[in-house]
């Protein structure tokens, strides 16, 4: 009733109050927002608060999904020790780091570069933007299947077929341990560049053109305006794309699951894929939960550093 009284005359409020009392009882507006929010609050308690706390708890136990919860033994931080000493987990972390550190800068450079290109006046700009954005609307499963076919070894894949026709040696894209992770990287960069491009393009068009005109009058060249107008004004966009792409990159799963299953020789094993294997194939839920919490901490630390770096010169 408070917002109501505030937004209109008190006489109308009084009238409504009278109606309220006569009709459904004066308390209805007080309860209404809570009733509206009830489903959401219930939902987030069951599917967010509970799983989150449960994850932290079971990461200190020897839980597997088949066992009864009352039989759990508390193990303290034993799972964390096990995970950190697990050579496959270490490999997975190293691969994930390599992947993130290559993926995020590449997406930023390509996304911004193509956005600058598409910002030029040209015929069919919208169509080109749509084309680059297409992979964003396509499922990871379909794209993984498509790229696996493209990457097929020897002369049965189209990429190797093209290399052959150019007189170049073929590559074992997904079968050669030193090429497997770069191949997945190429595919995911292809997939996510469009998203980064669109974000940068929107931001570029939001920079008032007067800034550029004024700079040009003062004799600034293209590089100057890029360095001193575009880059500083895009700082929030850099922060957003970097953080979003980082969080996304750390969670890479589907491509690895469908294209390499972490192989060959663990060359593409990444944290979420290994966690999935430990949890749902080996049913070691306690250990997998410890991995999830560790990865979460890793992502948070990474994002905090990025925010520091990109916000620094405000």
């Amino acid at each position: 009733m408070t917002s109501f009284g505030a937004s209109t005359g008190s006489d109308i409020a009084a009238l409504a109050e009278a109606k309220d009392v006569r009709g459904r009882g004066g308390r209805r507006s007080k309860a209404a927002p809570y009733l509206f929010l009830l489903p959401a609050l219930l939902f987030f308690s069951v599917f967010w608060v509970f799983p989150f706390l449960f994850s932290i708890w079971v990461s200190t136990t020897d839980w597997d999904i088949l066992g009864n919860l009352s039989d759990l033994t508390y193990q303290g931080l034993e799972n964390y020790g096990k995970v950190l000493n697990d050579p496959i987990f270490r490999t997975a972390v190293r691969n994930t780091f390599t992947y993130v550190l290559m993926d995020v800068p590449a997406l930023t450079v390509l996304g911004l570069g193509l956005a600058l290109l598409l910002k030029q006046s040209m015929v069919g700009r919208g169509a080109f933007r749509t084309i680059a954005f297409l992979p964003h609307g396509t499922s990871a499963v379909a794209l993984a299947i498509i790229w696996k076919i493209i990457y097929m070894p020897a002369d049965s894949g189209v990429l190797n077929g093209m290399l052959l026709q150019l007189g170049l040696p073929t590559l074992g894209w997904l079968t050669d341990p030193s090429w497997a992770l770069p191949s997945i990287l190429i595919m995911t960069i292809w997939k996510w560049t469009g998203f980064t491009l669109v974000v940068f393009l929107v931001a570029l068009f939001n920079i008032p053109s007067e800034y550029y005109e004024a700079a040009r009058v003062d004799g600034a060249n293209v590089w100057h305006t890029f360095r001193h107008i575009t880059i500083p004004l895009l700082r929030p966009t850099f922060l957003f794309t970097t953080v979003t792409n980082t969080i996304g990159a750390f969670q890479i799963f589907t491509e690895v699951y469908l294209m390499t299953e972490g192989g060959p020789a663990k060359a593409t094993e990444v944290v979420v894929h290994y966690m999935y294997t430990v949890a749902f194939e080996w049913l070691k839920m306690g250990k997998a939960s410890a991995m999830a919490i560790l990865l979460l901490a890793l992502i948070l630390a990474f994002v905090l550093v990025e925010m520091r770096l990109l916000r620094a010169r405000d």
Partner: protein, 300 residues
């Protein structure tokens, strides 16, 4: 007119100016050509995997494997599509995905706008706290919830049912936030007050006044929710175990095993093509709004 002053020097200056002008035109021309060359190259890179898949879906397995590459099928093998449609479970899992994504989209839209309405148009104790809480749920990545939520579903006996596929996605924090922003900006307080004076209950206010005003937002939120559920993979992979319950993405991932071999690869490509179409069509239709949504959430 000024011929007397038009000395040899002036003539040369003019010639130089002309030359500079034409150099500029040429440089601009080169830049223009390079610009379009770059853009067409970009378009080729982004389109190639899609085009290759659609063309491949119409080839015979022999045509797909020939070197030098045969780009176009001699005779389009439409039969590949017929075969994949009659393949085990394809139609069923396609239907499952339509049903599940549709149900989730409806629920996200309805419950999201209900919560969004409360957060946008009511003053009450804990409002700020609740909003912060809901927004904070967006910050934790899904993999943290995967195992406990699966356990919950398992204990409820929902594994391999539609409930497992739908219920954990029924409300999204993004949906609530998106609807709150929309309702705050687009539903006038006066209209709500008028409704109250007419004796509308709060629920009827929501259904009769707020919901009709939200049509455009419903469309955007509904379509994006549908697409993301159509494309989601890990959760359906975990909670479905029989082919009757597979979503299209899970089925596709199993087709890779059964049809990934050289001789059936065109069939796999046909199945992939069909699976892409619904999501991509909606994506193209709602593209403008999706871009706007990105710029709203991304740039604050």
């Amino acid at each position: 007119m000024n011929t007397t002053y038009d000395t040899a020097y002036g003539e040369r200056a003019r010639q130089e100016a002309d030359a500079a002008q034409s150099v500029r035109v040429i440089v601009q021309g080169i830049f223009g050509v390079l610009k379009y060359a770059a853009v067409f190259f970009m378009a080729f890179i982004f389109l190639f995997p899609f085009v290759w898949t659609v063309l491949g879906s119409l080839k015979t397995s022999g045509e797909l494997l020939i070197v030098p590459i045969q780009w176009l099928p001699k005779v389009p093998q439409w039969g590949n599509y017929a075969k994949i449609f009659s393949a085990m479970g394809f139609v069923r899992s396609f239907g499952n995905s339509v049903f599940v994504s549709g149900a989730v989209a409806l629920s996200v839209v309805f419950l999201g706008s209900m919560s969004g309405f409360a957060l946008a148009k009511y003053q009450f104790a804990g409002r700020r706290l609740i909003l912060t809480f809901i927004l904070s749920t967006m910050m934790i990545p899904y993999f943290v919830f995967l195992m406990p939520t699966f356990y919950l579903i398992y204990r409820l006996g929902w594994v391999d049912t539609y409930l497992a596929l739908i219920v954990p996605s029924m409300i999204t924090a993004f949906g609530i936030f998106f609807m709150r922003q929309f309702i705050e900006a687009n539903v006038p307080d006066e209209l709500l007050d008028a409704g109250r004076i007419d004796g509308c209950s709060d629920f009827r206010l929501f259904v009769n006044i707020v919901m009709p005003l939200c049509k455009s937002a419903y469309l955007v939120l509904g379509v994006t929710t549908f697409i993301s559920n159509w494309n989601s993979f890990l959760w359906p992979l975990i909670v479905t175990s029989t082919e009757e319950m597979f979503t299209i993405q899970v089925l596709l991932s199993t087709l890779q095993d059964s049809y990934g071999g050289m001789r059936t690869r065109p069939l796999l490509m046909a199945g992939t093509t069909i699976s892409i179409i619904p999501g991509l069509l909606l994506f193209l239709l709602a593209q403008k709004q999706i871009v706007q949504g990105i710029s709203v959430t991304g740039l604050k």
